[in-house]
């Protein structure tokens, strides 16, 4: 009889081959321009934009860490997550539509294009590119951790975590290198469908296997075993931080930002936002089913399969409780289905990773290499350089993931908190006003100080270099944002505003938004 791990590993390999195949097909449509490589010549329709935004937003964070956090914090995660996912969709519509309009007229490809153009500042271009590329690393690390866990658990340890992570990282890098971000957008469509079906199937099978009465039976059992999981346990300050950081902050990260440039119209953005709200938030219902079931099994155990306290064993093995979902799928679903479901988990991680790798490469290539090192480089040269940057960032992310830096939930917050620091400047750009509240100088100071504070106060960054006062990265991001806003407005009152000409141009573009 063929062992479960052989089925699972084989299906993940087939899935990887399909992704690379899509990369090859996408290559045939490639027009050899930077605009086509990164923003599909601005032709992406509703299905592509909706599933691309939804699947990119939901990553290893959604498939793995949500279940892990449900098993530890219970429904607190749902209460916060249904808020931040729907808020992300609303904010995505508000700023995404405006960025689309600006990008179309002024030919933006990167976030730095918009910020540097409005404030007429090359310094801001460099600062935006460097800060975004730096904070993105945290998110790439998260996907590398997730992919390592998925294949290591799926192969039942036959492929060690370190190599499992590297193999799947290289698969994602390969199809983006071959087919550009078009391959990422197309694979996102497949991955978005696969991971959504996967999480619902996994949730239903695992929960009903142990609790035929469904969620009511799970709640009834937890009421006796661990009632604290059935109420809100997070304080209002951390709830507020999560609501803002995982919605506004995440949507301002460049991998999602440039998706709005790729859209073919505002209608597309409007209805993709509606779809995104439903998709993102409903995704956490089945995650809750598995997470709460895991919490019960962690207390009771399953004779011959799981021992009580199995989650603590996973923490010892992987350095984090993120492996709970993969472990539950492997042990409690039929072998073939386990393969499809874990491939769905890989899809969740890869659909985000590919966009991050592609986006980092465009930021470094366009905003730094082309602008300052080789202004006369041909498009062909830029695409090659972009591919090299992409590969370099994949290796950096993998290397840091090998160090097992902790829970995906917390590491993700570092990246999102970094994205949040662009909010003041973005608000000034997308909402034309008679008074320029934020100027070139104040934007530079605000972004630099806000990002610095975020990194310093974040437990996973400041704590490692011995900074005495540290918080959860989401709270660090909110402190950074508060200081950022204050400095941006105060310094903005005394420094030279953006030119009247550029403000009028932006107003003309946005007045019908």
């Amino acid at each position: 009889m063929v062992a479960t791990w052989v089925y699972v590993t084989a299906i993940i390999i087939v899935y990887s081959a399909i992704c690379i195949g899509i990369g090859y097909i996408a290559k045939r449509f490639f027009r050899r321009t930077l605009e086509d490589f990164y923003v599909l010549s601005r032709t992406a329709g509703l299905v592509v934009i909706f599933l691309s935004i939804a699947s990119t937003y939901h990553s290893a964070f959604a498939f793995l860490t949500s279940v892990a956090v449900f098993s530890a914090a219970g429904i607190s995660f749902w209460i916060a997550a249904m808020g931040w996912t729907t808020l992300a969709a609303i904010w995505g519509y508000i700023y995404g539509k405006r960025m689309y309009l600006l990008g179309k007229v002024r030919k933006f490809i990167t976030p730095a294009d918009a910020i540097a153009d409005y404030f007429q500042s090359e310094a801001l271009r460099v600062i935006t590119a460097v800060i975004q590329a730096t904070f993105i690393i945290a998110y790439i690390v998260v996907q590398a951790i997730g992919l390592g866990i998925i294949l290591a658990v799926g192969s039942n340890g036959h492929i060690p975590y370190v190599w499992a992570s590297l193999i799947l990282m290289l698969v994602a890098a390969a199809y983006v290198i071959i087919g550009g971000l078009r391959a990422a957008y197309w694979t996102d469509v497949m991955q978005g469908i696969w991971m959504y079906i996967g999480v619902w199937v996994a949730g239903a099978i695992i929960m009903f296997k142990f609790f035929p009465g469904g969620l009511p039976q799970v709640f009834h059992t937890l009421e006796h075993l661990k009632p604290s999981l059935l109420v809100m346990r997070w304080n209002p300050d951390i709830l507020t931080s999560f609501l803002i950081v995982y919605s506004v902050g995440l949507m301002l990260l460049p991998h999602l930002w440039i998706k709005y440039y790729a859209s073919k119209g505002t209608w597309t953005i409007k209805w993709s936002s509606v779809g995104t709200a439903i998709y993102l938030s409903s995704y956490y219902i089945p995650a809750a089913m598995v997470g709460l079931t895991a919490a019960i099994l962690n207390i009771t155990g399953v004779p011959g399969v799981l021992h009580p306290g199995f989650i603590q064993s996973l923490i010892k093995q992987f350095g984090t409780r993120d492996a709970v979902m993969a472990y539950m799928i492997y042990h409690f679903t039929p072998p073939l289905l386990a393969g499809f479901l874990l491939a769905g988990a890989a899809a969740a991680a890869m659909s985000t990773l590919d966009s991050f790798l592609g986006t980092t490469s465009v930021i470094l290539t366009r905003d730094l290499y082309q602008r300052y090192l080789r202004p006369k480089a041909s498009d062909r040269e830029l695409v090659i350089v972009g591919r090299l940057f992409l590969l370099a960032w994949a290796f950096i992310g993998w290397y840091l993931a090998v160090l097992k830096p902790g829970l995906i939930f917390n590491i993700t917050a570092i990246a999102c908190a970094g994205g949040l620091q662009f909010l003041p400047a973005v608000l000034q750009i997308i909402f034309p006003s008679r008074r320029a509240w934020i100027t070139r100088t104040s934007a530079i100071v605000g972004i630099l100080v806000g990002s610095g504070i975020t990194a310093l106060f974040a437990k996973q960054v400041g704590g490692r270099i011995g900074f005495p006062i540290v918080f959860h990265p989401a709270i660090a991001g909110m402190i950074g944002l508060a200081v950022n806003f204050a400095l941006s407005v105060i310094i903005g009152a005394f420094t030279k505003p953006p030119s009247d000409e550029i403000r009028l141009k932006y107003y003309e573009i946005l007045k019908e938004a």
């Binding site: 059935l230 909402f431 009247d500 009028l504």
Partner: protein
């Protein structure tokens, strides 16, 4: 200076274009504020539909948010 006057005269700042947009803004603010209502109903009993009281409350808030997002897209967003 002429250019500056032109900016002031021509830019008509308005985040939202209609009364419906402002009404929906109020609705969304109330709905997101109501997420903090979980602290007022943060208990297991009485269970509603087999789930804890506070979880049921959060489900209702979620359904309302989704409902008004669809309404906003249909009648307000452009």
């Amino acid at each position: 200076m002429a250019s500056r006057r032109r900016v002031i005269e021509e830019i008509k700042p308005s985040v939202f274009k209609s009364r419906l947009a402002y009404a929906l803004l109020g609705v969304f603010l109330a709905l997101y504020a109501s997420i903090y209502g979980v602290y007022a109903v943060n208990r297991i009993e009485p269970m509603v539909g087999g789930v804890s009281y506070v979880f049921f409350y959060s489900l209702v808030v979620w359904w309302l948010i989704l409902f008004f997002i669809i309404i906003a897209a249909k009648f307000c967003w452009r």
